[in-house]
Structures are given as structure tokens and as C-alpha cells.
């Protein structure tokens, strides 16, 4: 699969000479030319705020800020504002970080342990409108030990905690005196990161300049502009006219740049999956036989090829097939015959109209997708037509989230999730029965004691082997009773001017564009010689 794609890309590169790129000078101004020291990127949406206290950059790569830890290209944790990975003591309940010395905020003030404590305490404060606070709920106490050490005490041992400490650190002397919800820090942030914000014209663009005193060394890319262009076609057009150097694009538009020899396409794999929630409370979707039949009836390969233009991978569970935690051997091909046998055995008999029924109840349910999302719409329609072949009638409807939310208990939803960093982050909120129907957590109200046990072990065990075994068990349990029909993992595509050496992409979460893409580490880019 991948090799075929690489070969296809190579062939496209070889044909590059055949197509003349439109090289009209875009409105790039005198410095918008092909200099490797500046880059202009088009992204579909902008952050609501640039304050980490409200959730900006909580998964890393925030450009303006650094966390205690960061992630490298392979998504491994590495020290950032901390000198080293944390010291874990007290059976996994105490994490001690030693700060790097000599780090200063871009306004010249030194970073101290108090800044770290202030950041975490403000995020955890009830009055702060941070939407992701529950990710740090495990923290019982955070305190400074002198200027150079920060100690976190947790409620319970939590193996994945270190991965949460990529949260950006803010300066107390700037953000401390104002309301975190509406203060000026939301639009005029100050951090220790490789870039400094120079302007934010909301809805239009954000501009950054390199921080010459960055503790990691001054970036070679001196100027970074993020242009906010919601419309995919407009973004592609402005990229073609030279107004932009790079952009995130859907697969069909990214393909139009194949013949461009001064641009490169980057494909980032992701944890971003599309799945159908099968509510446990509904007599049809809550029936294990129906769930297993649907899981076997869907043609995942066809969805990747037809809906995603090949820019994705079939998903056999919440974790992608190339994830180190993926349970080997759970891939399963489409098998309509087996789906039929499972339904027959469970008493779902074919009816006159081709829809199976059991005890006079037709195998029928409604599947909602959020209106306006074409990718989800296509998935929903493909799912319904696959299910029909197995004798299950899925009625597809579109609605806004305001309409969908009250119905999540009984009707299926074409949902999208995916968190990077640790299997616990995505799986616990998706599957644990204690979170059934808790806001948007565990939307299917999945309830499986074996899975709950595996989740708890994976969360608390300090031993990597024990965690691995737990997540392996969990994925196999999901095959036996799939409360979600996971369909595809979506690749994210980026097209970027070819002026730098050896760019990489990380494995990306559900959210993407601003912090991910090949510019996840723009501060490390090296101009082509």
C-alpha cells in the first residue's frame, strides 16, 4: 500500500517537467518571494485564543511557548523546559521535573518554577474557562521546590501523565494580574518559544518572527505567517498564485499540485478516525450480533479509496494499524457471508423487503452526521449501503450538533476522534463505562467490564509490558463486541514550497492544521543549500 504510493509519487515527480506551473508573481510583497527565511502558510481555521491557560497548544508545537516536555518526529517525549524527563516516585504518584537553567521569556524575564506552578494552577482553577481541564484532573497538587524544581502529586498512579506535560508554560508576571478568560494575554501572548507573535488580524492571519534568544538556538526561518482561509478552493488558488508557500489541502486539491516541481506534498498519518457510534441503549444497535455483522459488512478498503482518494487507512479499531500499540492480527477483511451467519444464528431473519427482523423488530436505525461535513456524509452513505447488503437498514440523516446531542443516546452518529500521545488519552474517554454519555465522552455508552478493566490497568500500571498486554486485550475485546464501527483513519495532506531540507510530519491528532503539518517544527528547518 505505502510502497505503491511512494512509487506513484515518484512517477508524478518524474512527469513534473510536463506541466508548467503558474508562476505569476502573487501579491507577495517584496519579502514574499522564494526566500527560505520566511514562510507563509494557509490554514482553514485559527485558534480562539493564544493563551495556554484556555487550552491553546495543550498538545504541543505552539511556536510561542514551550512545555516542560515536547515530542520529536517519532512522537517520543523529550525534555524542553525541563532538563530531563521527570523523576517518577511514590509508585507513580509523584512526578518531579528539574527546570533547564537560563531560559528567558521573550520579554527578557527568567523562567522560574513559580511560572510552571501558576500555569497549572490557573488551568485547574474552576473559574478558568478551559475546555480541556479534565485532561489534568489527575493532578492533586503542584508545587515549586526552590526556583528550579516542580513537583506534581497525583490522585492515583497515571502512566500517561508525563505526556500531558507538553502543556505550554506562561509567565506569571504577565498573565498573573489579569482575568485568564478575557485578559489581553489571549491576544498578546508572551512565551519562551522559538517565535514571538508580531500581529494577529483575527480571521485574516497571524504573523510571527523568530525569537533570536531562543534557548534551542535562533530559528533559520525568521518570519512565519499563518493565513486563515476557510475555503479549500481559495486556499489552493492562493497557493498556486504564489501568495502562499504552503497549505493544508483535501486530497483532491493536493493532487493538483503533483506536477509542480517547486512544491512538495507531505502526507501525515494520523490517529484521526471516523466511526459510527452504536448506542448500547438501543435494541438494534445494542445487539452484539448486529454490531459484529456491521463490522464485517463494511468495506473499509473501498472507503479509503473512494472517499479519501487513497489518503487514509482502513481502521480496525481506534488505534491506527502502524501504531506501536496496535494489536497484531486483528485486521479483518469484508465478509458478508459471515455477517449473514452471525445474524441468522442470533435470530435476525431476512424479511420480505430485504431488511432482517427479530421478534417483529426490524434491523433498522438512524445514523446522524453533522451537516456540512462532506467526508462524514460520504462515510455515512457508504456505511448505509454496505449495511443494506447485510440486511440492516440504516437511515442516514444530517443535523447540527445541537440537534444530534440529545439523540446520541438512541441514534447512531458518524463521529470523529483521535488523540495522540498515549493510548489512554483516546481510549479511556471513548470506551470507559463510567464515562458513558458524559458530555461527548463515550458517545455510544459502551459498557464492557473486560474493556473497563483493561483501561484501568493501562492507566495505572507502571510497567510497560503490563500496559501493552492490557491494550492488546482491549483491542481483541472490541473485535468481539464492537460498540463503534471504526471505519478509517484519515491522512492529512500538506503542500509546501520545496525550499528546506528534510522536513518531517508527526502522527497527528483529530485536530490539525495549525500546530501540525510539516511546520510542526518550523524552528528547526534548514534552508536548502
Amino acid at each position: 500500500m505505502t510502497t505503491r504510493r511512494i512509487r506513484g509519487a515518484a512517477a508524478a515527480m518524474a512527469m513534473a517537467g510536463a506541466v508548467a506551473a503558474c508562476s505569476a508573481p502573487g501579491g507577495g510583497g517584496e519579502d514574499g518571494g522564494a526566500s527560505a527565511a520566511s514562510v507563509v502558510i494557509g490554514v482553514p481555521s485559527e485558534p480562539d485564543t493564544l493563551s495556554p491557560l484556555l487550552g491553546y497548544g495543550k498538545d504541543g508545537n505552539s511556536k510561542i511557548f514551550d512545555g516542560l516536555l515536547a515530542r520529536d518526529a517519532a512522537m517520543e517525549l523529550k525534555p524542553a523546559l525541563a532538563k530531563a524527563l521527570p523523576e517518577v516516585t511514590d509508585g507513580g504518584r509523584t512526578y518531579t521535573y528539574t527546570l533547564r537553567e537560563g531560559v528567558r521569556f521573550s520579554d527578557g524575564e527568567p523562567l522560574t518554577a513559580d511560572d510552571v506552578v501558576f500555569t497549572y494552577r490557573t488551568v485547574l482553577d474552576d473559574r478558568t474557562n478551559n475546555t480541556a481541564r479534565s485532561e489534568l484532573d489527575v493532578i492533586d497538587e503542584v508545587r515549586a521546590e526552590g526556583d528550579g524544581k516542580v513537583v506534581f502529586t497525583l490522585d492515583h498512579p497515571y502512566a500517561a501523565f508525563a505526556a500531558r506535560t507538553v502543556l505550554p508554560i506562561v509567565p506569571e508576571h504577565v498573565a498573573g494580574g489579569q482575568d485568564p478568560n478575557t485578559g489581553s494575554f489571549n491576544t498578546k501572548p508572551v512565551g519562551t518559544g522559538p517565535y514571538v507573535l508580531t500581529g494577529w488580524s483575527k480571521g485574516e492571519k497571524l504573523t510571527f518572527k523568530a525569537n533570536p534568544d531562543y534557548w534551542g538556538g535562533a530559528p533559520k526561518v525568521k518570519k512565519l505567517t499563518m493565513a486563515i482561509i476557510a475555503d479549500d478552493d481559495v486556499r489552493a488558488t492562493r497557493l498556486r498564485s504564489g501568495d502562499l508557500d504552503g497549505a493544508t489541502l483535501p486530497p483532491n486539491l493536493a493532487a493538483t499540485f503533483k506536477g509542480d516541481d517547486d512544491k512538495k506534498t507531505y502526507r501525515a498519518t494520523s490517529y484521526d478516525f471516523r466511526a459510527v457510534t452504536l448506542p448500547t441503549g438501543d435494541p438494534v444497535t445494542g445487539d452484539t450480533a448486529i454490531r459484529r455483522a456491521l463490522d464485517l459488512a463494511v468495506d473499509r478498503e473501498a472507503m479509503v479509496d473512494k472517499i479519501l482518494d487513497g489518503a487514509g487507512r482502513p481502521a480496525y479499531g481506534p488505534l491506527p494499524v502502524d501504531d506501536p500499540w496496535f494489536a497484531d492480527g486483528i485486521e479483518r477483511p469484508r465478509d458478508l457471508a459471515e455477517a449473514g451467519r452471525i445474524l441468522d444464528a442470533a435470530g435476525w431473519k431476512p424479511g420480505k423487503d430485504g431488511v432482517r427482523a427479530k421478534a417483529n423488530r426490524p434491523a433498522r436505525f438512524t445514523l446522524y452526521y453533522p451537516s456540512g461535513d462532506k467526508v462524514r456524509q460520504d462515510h455515512a452513505l457508504a456505511y448505509a449501503s454496505d449495511a443494506k447488503e447485510a440486511g440492516i437498514d440504516v437511515r442516514v440523516e444530517s443535523a447540527t450538533w445541537e440537534v444530534i446531542e440529545p439523540r446520541m443516546k438512541h441514534d447512531a452518529v458518524l463521529a470523529g476522534f483521535g488523540s495522540t500521545g498515549d493510548p489512554d488519552f483516546g481510549l479511556y474517554t471513548l470506551l470507559h463505562s463510567s464515562l458513558a454519555g458524559d458530555g461527548f465522552n463515550n458517545m455510544a455508552r459502551y459498557d464492557n467490564p473486560a474493556v473497563d478493566r483493561a483501561l484501568d490497568t493501562g492507566r495505572r500500571a507502571q510497567d510497560a509490558k503490563a500496559r501493552e498486554a492490557a491494550y492488546d486485550t482491549l483491542q481483541r475485546e472490541l473485535v468481539k463486541n464492537p460498540g463503534y464501527t471504526v471505519l478509517t483513519h484519515i491522512d492529512h495532506l500538506y503542500v509546501l514550497a520545496d525550499r528546506w531540507e528534510g522536513l518531517t510530519t508527526q502522527t497527528e491528532p483529530h485536530e490539525h492544521g495549525f500546530a501540525s503539518g510539516p511546520w510542526w517544527n518550523a524552528e528547526d528547518w534548514q534552508p536548502r543549500a
Partner: protein
């Protein structure tokens, strides 16, 4: 004149009160959930506790009449509250954006009035001529064309095919300084489109007014005395022919504001339009109320201006009787 202005200002007070109250009532009745709008995509992964806490912090469950009263009393004290969706004080949101919207509207409006008058007069000079027929049919077709469609057409033609004008934004994407030259080049398309969308009204009104005036006795008398065509046109016909246009100026303001909303959205112009749309869908009471107040005030001011001009120019109208 001063009395008229003062009377109108007094009358504006209850209007503004009713309008802002209406905004709060409609927003409260809308199906949008302010908490979800606030949290954005993060809400789709949030737990109930977080959603409840936000609901509590944002105070969205308080009765809208109470919230309106709170907003009103602090607004009278000069504090317009804080915008939840923009994470900024409302005054700051408006301060950052109003200048660009005003610039856009003023340029477009001036262009529409001047061009409309010119074309209208040309069409009226020879009713039924080729020029008249062309201008009139153009005006009617523009009248029917939705402004966002014209905007997209203009982008397609001038930005994509001819590549002579930028497709959007306030300045070039790669620059982080706002310079006059850049703003001017970026202003041409949005202001042009907005002007074109307002044009038909002025053309048709002027044509009608001037056409009627040309047929009036004083004008025919002037022509009979052998006065130059220019004098006749400018001195006699235009003066009475333009009177209807003055009334039009006031009544076009609301239309101009809605037009600006669409144009700003299409051209990513960083004015208050984008903020208005966001405020409305996010049920951001303070911002929405402030913006509505602004829009209402603009409409009232436009009407007042039209009446004042009318009183000044038309000798038959006495201001102190209005």
C-alpha cells in the same frame, strides 16, 4: 436644525432600548448553544462536568431580561462587557475592526453615489437612447444579482484570471505592517463590489428625478432662452432631480450594512462583519448587543442626515416643521 437633531436623538433612545432587548430575546430563543460555540471543536470531546462548569462561568442560564439589564447598566457606565467568543473586551473588538468597516462602507458609498448620479444623468438626458437602455437594463440586472455572487465573480475575474488585484485580506499575506498602499490595493475589489451592489438604486432614482425635471416648465423655459445645455442640466435639472437621491441616502444605510456583512465575509476583510456573524452564531450577548446598537445608530443617523440635507436643499421643506 438643532431642534430636529435633538428630537431625533431623544427618539433614538427608546428605539435602541427596544432593539437591544429584542436582540437578547431572539438570541436567547435561538437554537445555538453558547457553551458549544465558546468551546468550539473542543466541546465535541468535553465531558459533562466541563460543559456544566462553562455554562456556569458564562452565566448562560440566567434569564435574558436580567442579562440585558446588567449589560445595559454597565454599558451606560462605559463598560460594554466582554466578548466570550473573541476572548476580548467588546470595546477592543469594535475598536480594532470598526475603522476598517467604516473605510470600506464610506468608500463604497461615495463611489456608488457619484457613479450612480453620473450614469443616471447621462441616461436621463436622452430617454430611450442606446445609452439609456444599456444603463437602465444594467441597473435592473444588478438589482437582481446577489452581492456575494458579484463578489465571487469579481474574485474569479480580477484575482484569479487577470491576477491584477488581491483576492482578499487587508494587506499582503506575507507582510505584517499595514501600509496605505497595500490597504488601497486590497480595498479596490471589496469596495468596488459593494459600490456596484448599491449602484442600481442611485442610477434609477437619479434618472427618474432628472428626467422629470427636464420635462418641467422652468427647464423648458431655460432651454427656450437658449441657455447652454450644461447650465440647464447642472443649474436647473440636477438640483431638483437629485432631491429623491437625498432621501435614498438615508434609506440605503441598512442595505449597505447587510451588503458589507456579505462582502467582508467573502473578501476576508477584517471588519466588524465577521465579528457580527460569529457573535450571532455563538450567542455572544454583549458583543451582539453592541454591534446591533451600532448598526441601529447608523441607520438612525443616516435617516437624520437625509432629512437635514433635504431641509437644507429643498426650499419647500422647513426644518422647524419636521
Amino acid at each position: 436644525m438643532a431642534r430636529l437633531t435633538a428630537r431625533r436623538a431623544l427618539f433614538a433612545v427608546p428605539v435602541l432600548l427596544v432593539v437591544t432587548f429584542g436582540v437578547f430575546a431572539v438570541a436567547a430563543a435561538s437554537p445555538f448553544d453558547p457553551v458549544k460555540a465558546y468551546a468550539g471543536t473542543a466541546a465535541l470531546g468535553a465531558d459533562q462536568e466541563t460543559l456544566d462548569r462553562l455554562r456556569d462561568n458564562l452565566g448562560v442560564d440566567r434569564p435574558f431580561a436580567v442579562r440585558w439589564w446588567d449589560w445595559l447598566t454597565s454599558a451606560l457606565g462605559g463598560d460594554f462587557g466582554r466578548s466570550t467568543v473573541m476572548r476580548q473586551p467588546v470595546a477592543e473588538v469594535i475598536g480594532e475592526r470598526l475603522v476598517w468597516s467604516t473605510l470600506l462602507c464610506a468608500v463604497a458609498f461615495a463611489a456608488a453615489v457619484l457613479l450612480g448620479t453620473l450614469l443616471g444623468v447621462l441616461a436621463a438626458r436622452r430617454p430611450g437612447s442606446l445609452l439609456d437602455r444599456t444603463v437602465t437594463s444594467l441597473a435592473y440586472s444588478l438589482e437582481a444579482a446577489p452581492v456575494f455572487w458579484i463578489a465571487l465573480l469579481a474574485i474569479w475575474l480580477f484575482a484569479l484570471n487577470l491576477d491584477v488585484l488581491p483576492a482578499g485580506g487587508l494587506t499582503d499575506t506575507g507582510s505584517d505592517h499595514v501600509t496605505a498602499g497595500q490597504v488601497v490595493s486590497h480595498l479596490v475589489l471589496p469596495a468596488g463590489v459593494l459600490a456596484v451592489s448599491q449602484l442600481p438604486w442611485f442610477i434609477l432614482y437619479v434618472r427618474q428625478g432628472v428626467g422629470d425635471a427636464l420635462a418641467e416648465d422652468p427647464v423648458r423655459g431655460a432651454r427656450a432662452r437658449g441657455l447652454a445645455e450644461r447650465t440647464v442640466l447642472l443649474g436647473h435639472a440636477l438640483r431638483s432631480g437629485l432631491l429623491p437621491v437625498l432621501t435614498l441616502i438615508g434609506s440605503r444605510v441598512p442595505e449597505l450594512i447587510t451588503g458589507a456583512l456579505l462582502v467582508e465575509t467573502v473578501f476576508s476583510w477584517p471588519g466588524i462583519a465577521a465579528a457580527t456573524v460569529e457573535a450571532a452564531t455563538a450567542v455572544d450577548f454583549p458583543l451582539l448587543a453592541a454591534l446591533t446598537t451600532l448598526a441601529t445608530a447608523a441607520v438612525l443617523a443616516g435617516n437624520l442626515l437625509a432629512d437635514l440635507l433635504y431641509g437644507l436643499i429643498d426650499p419647500r421643506v422647513k426644518l422647524n416643521e419636521m
